[in-house]
């Protein structure tokens, strides 16, 4: 139980996917302009991350490992993710059209989101068990959501600021991200402090 809490909280706060592992920077910077789209995107990402881990983990341990094909994991995982995203989109469109309208926009973008492929590969690399892998994926998704929501808030404040011409647009967004990630560094050590 303690292990689960540690994995969850370190994935959300300490090893935040966006702000300390640099995974999923494109959607983090691209979709964080408005709060509701930031939330929509991160729910979709969390959902696909958990689903992708739940699929790739058994495939790796029950198909690739017994057949000594572990070097094929990258190519197989990306195919599984692409198929999953497509499948989720079709299912949502048919059965939950209202959810499809709000989340469907973000689904095609998720296939090429490095955070999703990243979490599946990291779970294998860390040799997590199935449950721990799922927890880690959930934590990664929630961490992504936290970073997105916080950053959306920061950006809405930035909207009205007067910025030097050279820094306007992308550079100032990156520097704001730098400051947000500086704040997240404060969490390092929190796990040892609480559970150590």
């Amino acid at each position: 139980m303690k292990q689960i809490v540690i994995i969850l909280f370190s994935a959300i706060l300490v090893d935040n996917f966006v702000l300390s592992k640099f995974l999923g920077i494109c959607p983090f910077l691209g979709v964080s302009k408005k709060l509701d789209s930031a939330i929509g995107m991160s729910i979709a990402v969390t959902f696909v991350m958990v689903l992708a881990t739940a699929t790739t983990w058994p495939v790796y341990y029950y198909v690739l490992v017994p057949n000594h094909l572990t070097y094929l994991n990258t190519i197989l995982f990306i195919l599984i993710i692409a198929a999953l995203v497509q499948l989720v989109e079709i299912i949502l469109k048919k059965y939950v059209p209202s959810l499809h309208r709000s989340l469907g926009v973000y689904l095609p973008l998720i296939t090429t989101n490095c955070a999703v492929l990243g979490v599946t590969l990291l779970n294998i690399e860390e040799t997590y068990g199935f449950l721990h892998a799922i927890i880690n994926a959930t934590g990664a998704g929630l961490g992504f959501m936290l970073a997105m929501v916080l950053f959306a808030g920061v950006r809405s404040k930035m909207e009205n600021a007067v910025i030097t011409k050279s820094f306007d647009g992308i550079p100032i967004t990156l520097i704001a991200a730098s400051i947000v990630s500086l704040a997240f560094m404060g969490f390092s050590g929190i796990i040892d402090g609480i559970f150590g």
Binding site: C26, I75, K165, M185
Partner: protein, 228 residues
């Protein structure tokens, strides 16, 4: 002569005019993650260049065979296969770089630059031009990564390409995540400054630079597309 000039311009295009990192602002994740040391930037750039050149060649060869509707998954399969080859090669011969790049080596699969060039260039152009475009874009990526890597290495660990510079007090923060965002932001601002604002093509992060933009039909339809 005319022909030759245009070939040259394709090559140069990727390095300067349309530098994927500094002008098009693509591939932000690997740029930020591996640029802690100049050598890592160089290694990542080289690995991505090899994948980019071969994926451009293969996709230019296959462009008439691949059905329009499933082209993106097809590109991903081609790229993923090449990445696996490069990954095994680096693991066998450059163990230290393999460890430094870590998960970002397999993640070349989802690098926007490679998919973007497949979508924007290789499926419309001849094999030779696509190969040249791959070399140019790859070099542009490598140059930008190595430059950012140099700056972060000098400031963060007080060395350059592993050689210690004694007069500099290292500031570890530049090796960590905040320093990465900061230096990348400053580099783009510098490009903006030097080119008087005309250089950087993307004014904000949005759909136009995303390789999935054309396949993501909802992007235009829905108000809250990629860049809501």
């Amino acid at each position: 002569m005319e022909q030759k000039k245009s070939k040259m311009s394709i090559l140069i295009n990727g390095i300067i005019k349309e530098n994927p990192v500094l002008v098009l602002v693509l591939g932000t994740c690997p740029t930020l993650a591996v640029s802690t040391m100049a050598v890592n930037g160089l290694g990542m750039g080289a690995a991505a260049t090899v994948v980019l050149v071969f994926s451009n060649i293969l996709i230019a060869l296959l462009k008439d065979v691949i059905p329009e509707k499933v082209r993106i998954p097809c590109y991903i399969v081609v790229i993923a296969g090449l990445v696996t080859v490069v990954q095994l090669f680096v693991q066998a011969y450059f163990q230290s770089i393999y460890e430094a790049l870590g998960i970002f080596l397999p993640l070349i699969v989802v690098n926007c630059i490679i998919l973007g060039r497949a979508e924007m260039f290789a499926n419309k152009n001849s094999v030779l031009n696509s190969a040249l475009d791959g070399v140019g874009m790859g070099l542009g990526f490598t140059v930008a990564l190595t430059f950012i890597g140099c700056v972060r290495e000098v400031l963060g660990s007080g060395s350059i390409f592993g050689m210690q510079i004694h007069s500099i007090d290292p500031m570890t923060i530049f090796l960590l995540a905040p320093g990465g965002f900061f230096i990348f932001g400053c580099t783009i601002a510098l490009v903006n400054r030097l080119t008087k604002g005309r250089g950087v093509k993307r004014k904000s992060f949005g759909c136009e630079g995303c390789p999935a933009a054309s396949s993501c039909s909802q992007a235009e339809k829905a108000e809250g597309g990629c860049e809501a």
